[in-house]
Assembly symmetry: C2
């Protein structure tokens, strides 16, 4: 048996394209590791440039900067060796220009030593758009050890499936199988694995399964923090050759963990495990915070209707940005109930955020007047409801333009799915906070927030949901009850099941068909929606690409 | 030499997911071909389901329907054999679920005979998201001939490049080289190759080069018509073994061409070739027409400002949908010049379309009044300009909601690039008609339309561009002159060049940096823009994927 070596797993939060900041963070951890006599420090996938860099990878300047940074960081790797994820140039004359690589930084020098083989190209991932897949497998020699390095998806050659038509084996080869044949001492996986409320458990199972299958310890290093839609939850792990989690790093925070290989240890069974709803909440807070911080923005704006979606959005914004950085505007119309204003006030006061009231009635009348000739003889319909929503959207954007507060969108996933919202009205905003959270989950999260004290006013939670765009309107007038709606939507969107399959589970056929039709008919609205913080396995946005002009 | 066989190249317009309509079209051409004693009729790539089907391919139901249709069509293939593009199921237990296949329909039976090898996964293409690449190469025996069948990208293993960092050889193998080694009699390529004003000539060169390189005749069958952003121009070809175009089918129209192989013929040198600006114009008309037809929509709405962009958008809409289906609304404010109303009227009258006038002044005042407390003590700024644009956007959407006319967006590519437009205001619309056409091209296209008679009012073309959102405003107050701006944008966006490279071509450094900064800072606006009809090699939208939160 070789002498133990000291390892550091460094789970950091990177900003896309911010090479100076990313480099400084990495160097800082390398210096601390050197002081602590660490032999090998491990950073995550594409750490140098942030994930996902998207089409920035097609710019030569961008790739050169990433590579230059590797060499600069390497100057700090004298006693300590580092593994850092970053792009590298394909030296061949054929195939894509780039590899997605693990760079080895040691003795002041940097070189890409392993390239990613399995390039996820589904859901939110487009890696084959940029990278040439690796086909050579080697272990890395380090202080008498033989290390098998893989990059994220490389250990996902078989996977659990949601739907019979999905495949367990998306890929035709298994990098871990190839590497295991080379008899490595231990394995490292560097990842950029985004959060979803299913994924974080599945990920643990997949990594543990691989460790146990090949009886090899695995050091798994993920990143943390959010880049627009994608939220990385961290949760890096040390896995024993028996497939047990020996240590798990924190969720949604930067952390570097020092450990030794190979010293006897016992698995950490007492791991603190937040509930699913708490993890989703933490993910959303992280998503909002990083959207603002990484864009050098400070202040948010929320239109407060007295309803539950805007209340929860405001609460998340306050948790992410501080109460002094969140402003609310209440915009009652003639159809607003008395409680909508008092509920919104109560919320703002509970949260300690500022707010103001701008009634819209007179602007509504002015629009009616301007349109009276055009609309003469026509009945009132959804047009007039949308005008109210668009007046509110215009007032919010005016405030945003004047004071620089970024408007947060308050639509939930159920509404976004069925098109229950006004484009250029309440669908406005720079970021959709709840766009991947079904309405039933919105209720659940509010109850979670209220577990110790009332933050979301009780009346906001208990009253029947309403858009209040005409007298006595209720969501349930035009939509199925949310329990039922969300159950159908989950099967159609996340599980990708057909109407027939959903009906065969016992759902009413008309309700299923009507719901699916609403989803399909509203692709054009979602096309113009703000980016959505992704917390599920299938969020609206760039992970779900449906044609607009098509027969569904 | 074998006896001549009679071939049909069938260039049709398919709607995504409309299996009944696509099947009926294909059967109709097969019946006509049978009556004309055709031996082999060829349809384009993924003809059965339309291109691009996107994530509809992840639905089992969708794929099953496509396959069922192949078998139904095959019943009509008794004397005639057909090649039809469609998905097929990967029979292996590993790799992606689907192949992108050429199906052979003969003697009443259908089977996939060739799978696509090179899966374009760049720009607007995501084929590796869905398909497993083929690795087996065989020719198809047919009436004593040996046919090499390839699918679109399969003949693009090397390509011209726009940028030094791009690669000629994106792929590591050449299907045509593999197939040529099997000594085929002739080659067929079935394609779904979308229009761009460069692409149609490059495509001809690439196909001709392959024919000449392997000295083999090529029958190239593309599709026509538009599916949301992508516009297929047709232009299918018969290429001689010398690499000469023997015949080219029409642009932007359905056509089936009968020909014989192998009878002596002379190349068609007298081919009618529309100018580049005319092709772009035809592409846009096709794009608008198919967006409406394929969505079962009839009527369009355009906000007429008296400016050149809305004028050209209206002219294209009238050409696509008929003057009786296009309505204009003029919405003058206190800052509108007199000529803006008269120019817009002149345009509507030239085009014979209906229009009405809704002044916005009083609504503006009502917004000012509603916001006076919030904004007290603040100077007027871009906020007030945006309010005007959003009032107009709200009026247009109100008309759209009430009467069902779909609002056409009038932003051009120059504006979209630098963010010179109001989100939820003049950026509204179901479809962006000119979003891939630079301002200088907008002028050029208007002059083209006016070549015989005045359609776009001369004053609209000759006056200095202005948004008219404050007194005496001109676009050139805040933007470089359009000739210069567009030249920089073209290099940055289409050619993917860096600031440094552009400056080294002789452009002023400050102007270049300022322009690029404006492009980068407005990713968040374009994220929420309508789908853009794509006519260039790099349009905004799903072909250009840039992170929102990032350091550029």
């Amino acid at each position: 048996m070789q002498a133990p070596i000291k390892l550091a797993l460094s789970q950091l939060n990177y900003k896309i394209g911010d090479f100076d900041a990313n480099k400084a963070k990495i160097i800082n951890e390398i210096k601390k590791a050197a002081e602590n006599h660490v032999d090998l420090i491990i950073f995550s996938e594409l750490a140098i440039c942030g994930y996902p860099p998207l089409d920035m990878l097609t710019r030569e300047e961008f790739v050169r900067k990433a590579i230059d940074c590797m060499h600069e960081i390497a100057k700090h790797c004298q006693t300590v060796t580092a593994i850092v994820g970053g792009p590298s140039i394909n030296p061949g004359s054929k195939g894509k220009q780039l590899f997605n690589s693990a760079w080895l930084l040691s003795d002041g020098d940097a070189r890409p030593v392993v390239h990613k083989t399995l390039l996820p190209t589904y859901d939110v991932f487009d890696e084959y758009r940029y990278f040439q897949p690796n086909q050579d497998f080697n272990v890395i020699s380090f202080k008498g050890h033989r290390i098998a390095i893989t990059i994220c998806e490389d250990i996902w050659d078989d996977r659990p499936i949601e739907n019979a038509f999905d495949r367990n084996h998306l890929y035709t080869l298994s990098p871990m199988q190839k590497l295991a044949a080379l008899r490595p001492t231990f394995a490292i996986n560097i990842a950029a694995s985004p959060f979803s409320y299913h994924q974080h458990e599945i990920r643990k199972q997949v990594v543990c399964k691989k460790a146990a299958q090949y009886q090899i310890p695995v050091f798994y290093v993920n990143q943390t923090g959010a880049n627009t839609e994608l939220i990385f939850d961290g949760g890096s792990m040390v896995i024993s050759p028996a497939g047990e989690v020996m240590h798990r790093l924190g969720f949604f925070k930067e952390e570097t963990f020092y450990t030794k290989f190979n010293e006897p240890a016992t698995p950490n069974k007492s791991e603190e495990k937040p509930s699913e709803i708490e993890l989703i909440y933490q993910a959303l807070v992280t998503g909002v915070r990083d959207y603002f911080n990484k864009s050098s923005l400070k202040k948010a704006l929320v239109g407060l209707s007295g309803g539950i979606d805007s209340a929860l959005t405001a609460a998340i914004a306050v948790a992410a940005l501080g109460k002094e950085n969140v402003h609310g505007i209440l915009m009652p119309s003639q159809y607003s109930s008395d409680h909508s204003v008092t509920d919104a006030r109560d919320l703002a006061e509970n949260l300690g955020m500022s707010y103001e009231i701008i009634p819209i009635k007179d602007i509504v009348l002015q629009f009616d007047f301007a349109l009276q000739n055009s609309f003469s003889g026509r009945e009132s319909d959804i047009t007039e409801e949308n005008i109210q929503a668009r007046i509110r959207g215009t007032l919010l954007m005016a405030y945003s333009n004047k004071f620089g507060n970024i408007l947060l969108n308050t639509s939930n996933k159920s509404e976004a799915a069925v098109g229950y919202g006004t484009l250029y009205g309440d669908m406005n905003g720079g970021l959709s906070v709840l766009g991947d959270v079904y309405k039933t989950r919105v209720f659940e999260m509010c109850r979670f927030l209220n577990r110790n004290e009332e933050i979301i006013p009780e009346n906001t939670i208990s009253k029947p949901p309403s858009a209040e765009l005409r007298p006595d309107q209720k969501d349930s007038d035009s939509l199925p009850e949310y329990d039922l709606l969300d159950a159908i939507l989950f099967r159609y969107i996340e599980q990708n099941r057909s109407a027939k399959e959903i009906v065969s589970e016992g759902f009413d056929q008309n309700t299923v068909l009507k719901t699916i039709q609403m989803v399909n008919r509203n692709e054009h609205k979602r096309f113009q929606a703000p980016p959505v913080l992704r917390v599920s396995g299938k969020a609206f946005g760039f992970g779900r690409r449906m044609p607009l002009v098509a027969r569904y």
